[in-house]
Structure formats: C-alpha cells, structure tokens
Symmetry: C2
Subunit: 218 residues, 2 copies
DNA sequence: ACAATAGTGTCTCTAAGACAATATACG
DNA sequence: CGTATATTGTCTTAGAGACACTATTGT
C-alpha cells in the first residue's frame, strides 16, 4: 500500500483594520519554498494525540499560540494537491483576537484579495471564511475574534465585519442576552470618549472553548 | 516518520419502518473480525482521486451502490482508535432511499439503540445523525432519503422522522416551494387509496447531488 | 353520500427590525 | 449645557404555526 502523506493546515483568522485576515507564513522548505502559505505540517504519530493536537502543535511551534479557538474544517486529499505525492490534509480553522498575534511571524492578508496560494490552500481559506460567516449568523463564534474584555458595541462591530452587513442593534442585544454567554464586569469603558461609557463584558468561563448557538438567526 | 493508517468510513443512513437506520456490515477481517461495523476501507492512493472517491469505491464494492448522496462529515484520528496503530479515518455520510438497499448485504440498525461498535464508529454515527438533523431544519437534505417520485405528504413524513417531531403542513409546503427544488409530474398518485390522490414530484435535475437551503428554518 | 386524506386560505402569535426616547460620559 | 454614543422601550412588519375550509378520490 503506497503511503499517504498526512498533514494538517490551519486557517488562522483574525480581525485587523476592519477586515477579516488570514495569517500566512513564508515557507522555509520545499515544496513551494519561499511562498506564502497556511501554517501546517506533518502529523507526528509519535507525539500527537490526534490531528487536532497536530494543528495545535503547529500553532504553538510556529507562533507560540496557546489554545486559541480551534475547530476542524474539512479534509482535503488527492494525488495532485501536493507535488510530493498522494496527500491528505486535515484543515483546521482558528480564531484569535489580533492582540495575540503581536510578535508572531505571520503575514496578515485580507481574505478579500488573496494572492495565489500553494497546494489547495485557497480552497481551505474559502471554506474557513464560509464556515465563520455561516456560524456567525446563529452562534457566538465571532467572540473569539474579540479580546476580552469588550463592549457590546465592539462585539457588534466584529459581527458586522464578519457578516459583511450592518446588524440591528436591538436584535443583536436580544440575541447576546439569549445566548447567555457573556457576563458584565463591574467597571465601564471610559477611554476618554466624550460620551456615555459602555459596559465591559467577558465570556463566561465554560463558554471559552465552545460555542453558544441560537435556534434562530443573528 | 512513522506511517499513519489512512482509511475512510461511511455512515450510510436510510429510512425504514419509520426510523432512521444505519447500514452496518459484518467485518470479514481483523481487527474486530465478525463484528458489525460501518463500511470502510483503506484509501487506495493508486486509484482514488481523493478520499471521497475512496468512500464511493467502498460503497460500490461492498454494496453495488452507485453515486448516492455523499458528504464529508469529519476526520477522526489518534493512536488508540485502531489497534493497528496511529490511524486517521475520514468519515462520510451517505443518504439513500431504502429501495436501493434491496439485495445489499447490510444489516440495518435503528440509530436509536445502537449496539456497541468497533473503533470510534459510534461517534461517527452520532456525528452523522446530528448533521442530518441539523441540516434538515433548513435544507433539502432529507429528499435523498426518499425514492422518486414522491408526494409532499410522503416527504413531510420523512422530515418528521428525521427531525423527530411533527412538522406544520402549511409551513412545510411554503418552504418546499421556496426551496424551488421540486417539480410536479403530470400523473397523480392513486394507489387505490380511498381519498384524494397526491401530486407526485421529482427533484429538479441540477439539485440531484446538491442541497437547497433556506435562510430561515424548516 | 361518506370517509379519508390532499391541498389552500386565513388568522394568530412570535420574533426580527425600525424608530425613537432616555442615560451618561467628556468638554 | 452641548455633543456623542450607550442602552432601553415600543411600534411595525414578516414569517411560522394553528385552524379550518375546499377538493378529489374510492367505496
């Protein structure tokens, strides 16, 4: 039985300058050495508890990231996607607030206007963006793009960027209340803004690594 | 780099006796020879165009099934799920009307009340059932469980079994109309029933291997 | 004509969105 | 006190479900 090349790739998304961005790395080794690509690597059967652990290891080793939100996306495979041979890549989607990428060696690129990417990384990014957009319509997924603590107007802005359209303020607050995943902190945001300060919230412990969903939209 | 065992497994679901059923096969070879398990097999790098093709090949070889609805579910991996070593299985979900399983060597088991299954096949079945339930709320997915042509009352019954709850007739018909995926056939169902016959429908060509979705539920 | 289910019209109720009033910071 | 944004109250409107009426077959 010919061997199958088993890898993981991570579509690491964040929000910067009002746009969804993918974190790319310049490849050090062949194939496609020197090209910008998704962070990825071989599955290490000796050390990884499963493919998700491989993805977490890749993020840790290449960027020092500890346990961001990480979700399996899909698996891509075939004889031509990798010039080394028949390969299989389990793609993961990770979401982080931009703050945690400070110092990491990534090149952030807006998901609108991607350059050509090696392998089938373009399809992986497209799948990740579609997944995030879709889940943002009925779940708490976008909170993972927001550094804590945050205000509801800030979080609403994140949803609006991800969804690409304005969100009704009253409905948005009703939904956040319904998801029952945020808790207010005693202090308010003051940052010297010449207007009423907004309440700061954090994610309730227990929702940190999971999503809260609503049966209906928004 | 130690080798990773690469396989595919198919959760083949159908509707029989008013319940969602999984198709299981008795394993001929070790590990777990003699046990009921999901149909699956190695990825054949020499012949398969990708993992989905492997899954289609498994269904073809083991049951003579040609191109049923087939969707990638998730990938399961780790050192302990298969006694042969560190393994990775791409799980697929297939939906077929019960008629096409006539003569196939499957043992159908209701998804409620599964026996113990080898590997992590139980988790795969659970994932498939969750996926089908979820997608049934807003898409045309369950039509693939219905042999054509079918009537709207028949299709509604399929949705009700999958969702596990009664469905509003008026809303259901509004949604089917909105999905714009069915077309009526000239003839009506008469089967000697002592009541008004129902219109027969078929899936519009073009929706055969895809789903139609609605932004809102049902 | 009767029984039984198919198909449709319409009312009610829930929930999303629009609008706008009130609250609270800073200058 | 004026301005700007946060937060909340309430009205409007769209859509899902309930209900019931009409349609059409076989007996």
């Amino acid at each position: 039985m010919p061997t199958v090349i088993c890898t993981v790739d991570v579509v690491l998304l964040t929000l910067q300058q009002g746009a969804l961005q993918v974190a790319l790395l310049r490849r050090e080794r062949a194939p496609f050495a020197g090209a910008l690509a998704l962070p990825g690597g071989y599955i290490h059967a000796q050390e990884d508890a499963d493919a998700q652990a491989s993805a977490a290891r890749v993020l840790r080793d290449k960027a020092g990231l500890q346990s961001p939100y990480l979700e399996q996306l899909a698996t891509f495979s075939g004889p031509v996607r990798d010039p080394r041979g028949w390969s299989l890549a389990v793609a993961y989607c990770a979401l982080v607030p931009p703050e945690v990428l400070a110092g990491a060696p990534f090149t952030l690129v807006p998901v609108a206007g991607l350059p050509a990417l090696p392998f089938d990384h373009r399809a992986m990014v497209d799948a990740a963006v579609a997944r995030v957009r879709s889940k943002s319509q009925y779940s708490s997924m976008p909170v993972h793009l927001c550094a804590e603590p945050f205000t509801l107007p800030q979080l609403q802005a994140v949803y609006e960027v991800v969804l690409g359209e304005p969100v009704n303020k009253v409905s948005f607050r009703r939904k956040m209340d319904e998801l029952a995943m945020l808790e207010p902190l005693p202090g308010a945001l003051q940052t010297g803004a010449a207007h009423r300060p907004a309440q700061l919230y954090r994610i309730k412990p227990g929702f940190r690594s999971s999503l809260s969903t609503s049966s209906r939209g928004l």
